[in-house]
């Protein structure tokens, strides 16, 4: 069964590492739905979050092949563990006078933000998981989406300790 997986990688922060990871996916015919990469608190290490899809066997191969790369330090399939995921999206939506109130209400409900206003359009910033973002985009569609920019997902495993976990769950 083909499923979507979120894979988190710790990699050496060196030039060429992104090319190695991306090349592995293209060379072996795996698809990348999104890929995010940035430095961690340790400047020699970067963190990548990759969203990909495949059946169990393909995902197993992807993970094993990633682990084989010398510059890859750690690979975690977050899909199989408790984790949080977020994506940031900028949506430029038509803001005809008769629709503005409704757009603003929806933005409010979703705890999104208007970050730019022009006579005919708003740029909305929204953060959330896949479900929330999908729902928001669906609601914006009828007004006319002019442009959209997405960061791709970042993700992190939840802390294993029970109490801490409970504490962080709502904040996220």
């Amino acid at each position: 069964m083909v499923r979507r997986h979120t894979i988190s990688l710790l990699v050496e922060n060196r030039f060429g590492v992104l090319a190695r990871v991306a090349g592995l996916f293209s060379g072996r015919g795996y698809n990348i739905e999104s890929l995010c990469v940035a430095e961690t608190t340790d400047p020699t290490v970067s963190k990548m979050t990759i969203v990909t899809s495949g059946d169990d066997q393909i995902i197993e191969q992807i993970i094993k092949q990633l682990r084989k790369l010398i510059d890859v330090i750690k690979v975690t399939d977050l899909t199989t563990t408790e984790h949080v995921e977020r994506e940031l999206v900028l949506v430029k939506v038509n803001a005809a006078p008769e629709h503005r109130a409704e757009i603003l209400r929806t933005v409010d409900i979703f705890r999104a933000k208007i970050v730019d206003v022009s006579p005919s359009a708003y740029v909305v910033e929204i953060t959330g998981d896949e479900g929330k973002i999908g729902a928001f985009i669906e609601l914006m569609k009828p007004f006319g989406i002019r442009d959209i920019a997405r960061t791709g997902k970042v993700a992190m495993a939840r802390t294993a300790k029970k109490r801490e976990q409970e504490g962080t769950r709502h904040v996220a």
């Binding site: 050496e12 090349g23 191969q61 094993k64 682990r67 084989k68 790369l69 010398i70 510059d71 330090i73």
Partner: protein
């Protein structure tokens, strides 16, 4: 010390004695330094591809890392086929390429090529050195990565300014790679589980590949197979990993495998795979591969396990260490149980003997035409099997695999994974460099040999007494065979309109050229070739339309073999 000097010192620290290569502007400073050095021996090949295959043959025949040095741009791009060949067959080589100065990288400078980008998918790892101070560490890492775990090629790109810069450097004694920690010891619980399953089986087959050769596990594996009397089949890459003349040996399996090996796998209830990767040329139609068998799979590369077939007992680890551990565990098994196992499996071995007897490897003998199989058989007979055989690709490769019995690891050297025509001859040169006293023979086709024929000059220059046996059918034979069997004999572009006179060609290079056109000449010509202490090229004019059998058509199930 200059970068060039550091480079040579670092090589020596890795135990390097020989380098295969061709100079050029980007590496001229290294070559200048090499000129003053009496410890390192450089073999000047006539093509960079030849240099890489030679280093590869050196590695495969000795287990040591092969080293290549070439210039930037075309020198570097010429190495790509060789690197990909080594990559597919897990051969440890380190290729050093010159590069334009760091300040010019990316400017389309003269003889610039992004060789690190080009070889990323066909190296185990590669480096661009940007600072002379990194050189000692990078070189140490490169050799370490090449030879450990699942071995493979590593490329190091050396910009000219890094080579000419000077620095005070320390050579590290050890290195730390946090992203690279190959698992070598197999999980003991899994090993015990494997042994239990083995002892409970009735129709076991040991299926072993190149991993057994690379990890030097052949002797222990042979011991294990003999102790339990388990029949053995080898992949193409695994030949020599079990004595070819042992009665437990069934020959190679797969597309051109023996009837016995393919039938045994098909009817087996337990496949014990060691250092083999269930390649499509081995499994045939994968859904019908070993349909009744459970599978134990030992491999140092976790990604090879459960890649194409489902595995019941995976063991990640070095083949030698795992097999040693199996032997240890076997000591705890009561003799009675071992005897019971041998008794229970006796019927299975009898069945296999019947398959071997009813359908042995065979060919139609001829008094008038030279059969290629006959040449290989005679070579085996006259050398007593004591030789290193390399091959080109095609029919010659399969006949060399089928009709010569390999008794020792590292005596059969072939491009299995990539199937690179032109590999065998330079590989033979490398094998001869690593094994000066040994008989080294490249079993070749008339097509393949033309792909690196220029290396005759190398063999002559360095007095390497390599023999090349061309099984000359004036065809791109293996492709012709497919056209014969599956395309109604439409021989599209497989018949050579022109071929050189190989005997005169050899002589032009200063080598010895011999020819046999009749079966009764074969023995004498081989003897003569083996007697001469010089490179010899022998042109065996063979029966043109001979085919390799058995053959499992591509995509068919192993049991559906075409027989002679």
């Amino acid at each position: 010390m200059t970068g060039a000097r550091i480079f040579l010192e670092a090589l020596k620290r890795e135990g390097v004695r020989e380098i295969f290569g061709i100079p050029g502007g980007a590496v001229i400073n290294i070559y200048d330094e090499l000129h003053k050095d009496s410890e390192l021996f450089h073999i000047l090949t006539r093509h960079e591809q030849g240099a890489v295959h030679a280093a590869d043959g050196y590695a495969r025949s000795s287990g040591k890392v092969g080293v290549v040095l070439v210039t930037s741009g075309p020198g570097a791009t010429n190495t790509v086929t060789g690197i990909a060949t080594a990559y597919m067959d897990s051969s440890p080589i380190v290729v050093f390429t010159g590069q334009v100065p760091t300040s010019m990288i990316g400017n389309d400078a003269f003889q610039e090529a992004d060789i690190v980008g080009i070889t990323r998918p066909c190296t185990k790892h590669n480096y661009l050195v940007k600072d002379v101070k990194d050189l000692p560490r990078v070189i140490k890492e490169a050799f370490y990565i090449a030879r450990t775990g699942r071995p493979g090629p590593v490329l190091v790109d050396l910009p000219k300014d890094v080579i000419t810069a000077s620095a005070n450097v320390k050579f590290p004694d050890h290195i730390e790679l946090r992203g690279y920690k190959p698992v070598l010891e197999g999980h003991v619980k899994q090993i015990r589980k494997a042994l239990d399953i083995i002892l409970a089986s009735s129709r076991p087959v040991l299926y072993t590949g190149g991993g057994v050769i690379w990890s030097s596990a052949a002797a222990d594996l042979t011991k294990f197979a003999r102790k339990l009397k388990i029949p053995v089949t080898n992949t193409l890459m695994g030949l020599g990993g079990f004595p070819g003349d042992d009665e437990l040996f069934m020959g190679m399996l797969g597309m051109h495998g023996t009837y016995a090996a393919n039938m045994a796998v098909t009817h087996s209830d337990l496949i014990i795979a060691v250092g083999a990767r269930f390649d499509d040329r081995v499994t045939g139609k994968v859904e019908e591969f070993a349909p009744e068998a459970k599978i134990v799979h030992v491999d140092v590369d976790p990604a090879s396990i459960s890649k194409s077939v489902k595995v019941h007992v995976p063991i990640v680890g070095d083949a030698k260490r795992v097999v040693r551990r199996l032997l240890e565990e076997l000591k705890n098994v009561p003799q009675k149980e071992i005897r019971a196992f041998q008794k229970r499996t006796a019927e299975w071995r009898k069945k296999i003997s019947e398959w071997k007897e009813t359908q042995p490897l065979r060919y139609n003998r001829s008094k008038t035409r030279i059969k290629p199989q006959y040449v290989v058989e005679k070579l085996y007979e006259l050398t007593g099997g004591d030789a290193i055989i390399t091959t080109e690709v095609g029919q010659n490769q399969m006949w060399a695999a089928q009709f010569f019995k390999y008794k020792q690891p590292r005596t059969f050297i072939t491009s299995g994974g990539l199937g690179t025509m032109g590999f065998g001859f330079p590989a033979a040169i490398g094998a001869q460099v690593a094994n000066p006293g040994k008989v080294v023979v490249d079993i070749a086709g008339d097509g393949s040999i033309q792909m690196n024929i220029q290396e005759l000059a190398t063999a002559v220059q360095y007095r390497l007494p390599v023999k090349v046996f061309i099984l000359n059918n004036r065809f791109l034979g293996m492709v012709r065979q497919w056209q014969h069997l599956f395309f109604d004999k439409r021989y599209s572009e497989t018949c050579f309109g022109v071929l050189p006179d190989f005997v005169r060609l050899a002589e032009a290079y200063g080598a010895v050229g011999l020819r046999a056109t009749r079966p009764d000449q074969v023995e004498n010509v081989i003897k003569k070739a083996l007697d001469v202490n010089a490179p010899v090229l022998v042109d065996f004019v063979i029966d043109r339309e001979e085919c390799v059998y058995p053959m499992v058509p591509a995509g068919a199930s192993l049991k559906d073999m075409l027989l002679v």
